[in-house]
Symmetry: C2
Subunit: 216 residues, 2 copies
């Protein structure tokens, strides 16, 4: 329905990108098996042969799509984590970071990536490794590092396990969002995201904070 990404037959170098975009759309909508290469080619405004010229076969195309989604997710998530600085009021900062992470998590592409991953994890077990290496692990590490710095500054008490604390902060966001978004089928209203993030930040600070609580 969203039509071809290329304006008719114009440039040549961006066919590859057009195919990746269309492939994402179709895979996300129909899932790996139900997705047809014909539909992808049509969506990209490209001949089926061109798809095979660029990617070899359907599975390799799928892997490329997943890899691209992982890269994009990494960029967005790292930007969110970098909102956690050492200065500024803790509650506000944690809330801002949490909100940014929540937006990443709810992003259409992230939702699709999780869905495709879950669906194909048994038939293509290596996919998870790709996504973890290129995105998930790096975000976790970055978050843990930021929290560790706050602990070093005496503003958090993580019991010497920043990675565990990062894991929990993430869980306090993603768990509720997964449920409330109905596995990504429902757009969580702004107010509800706010509630999830504020509650997560509150719980996290009550558990790990060293400063007098900033009431909700």
């Amino acid at each position: 329905m969203s039509g071809a990404r290329t304006e008719r037959t114009r440039g040549r170098i961006d066919k590859r990108q057009a195919i990746l975009d269309a492939a994402f759309t179709v895979f996300a909508r129909d899932g790996y098996h139900a997705a047809g290469v014909d539909a992808i080619a049509a969506g990209a405004g490209v001949a089926k042969h061109t798809v095979y010229n660029h990617f070899g076969d359907k599975e390799r195309l799928f892997r490329e799509v997943v890899g691209a989604l992982a890269d994009q997710a990494l960029a967005r998530n790292l930007a969110a984590v970098e909102l956690l600085r050492e200065d500024g009021e803790l509650t506000a900062m944690l809330t801002r970071t949490g909100r940014a992470l929540a937006e990443c998590y709810c992003d259409e592409r992230s939702v699709a990536l999780r869905r495709l991953l879950h669906a194909q994890i048994t038939t293509m077990p290596d996919l998870l490794g790709i996504v973890r290496d290129r995105a998930a692990d790096r975000v976790d590490d970055a978050l843990a590092a930021r929290l560790a710095r706050l602990a070093l500054a005496g503003r958090l008490d993580l019991g010497g396990r920043p990675a565990l604390a990062a894991e929990q902060f993430g869980a306090l966001l993603t768990g509720p969002l997964e449920a409330r978004s109905r596995l990504g089928t429902r757009k969580v209203p702004r107010a509800e995201v706010r509630e999830v993030v504020d509650t997560a930040a509150g719980t996290f600070l009550r558990a790990f904070g060293t400063e007098p609580a900033q009431s909700a």
Copy 2:
């Protein structure tokens, strides 16, 4: 690999159950689309016609499998939640309940249910409703009710929102377990489950407890 559930052609009434069992195995292994009705029939030691006699078509069979999985998950999870009583030491109790819930979450059938749900949620959006009505929502409610009772007894301070606290306790378990089990593809070692559960209970009690902390 686990062979037919029925010992050759014996009883008749349990063919239905044999089909459901085999269908679970095949759907869980291959996913909805890649699963073949022939494979299911073979796995159940039954003619393909018998499958269609009992369930009409592949999609209805799939729904029955999902429903059955939800019912089983509900039973296991409720039993876990009911470990939360009003007497007894809080940390120990929360840890025991947490461990039981973690085991439910890591159970092969729960893993498969989540996987199938994620994979088919776009093509069969009503599936989520079935699972929520028959399992997820009820578990959440039961957990919230137990926590509310503990709050009423003055042993927790949930800020008057037991449902939010229940949501967070669940998230502190499922989030880390989801990641550490690699979406269910890896068996999480006992020691690691213990770490996740203890950390979750610790964080929860530091955030919501009213009694002096029981150190880890």
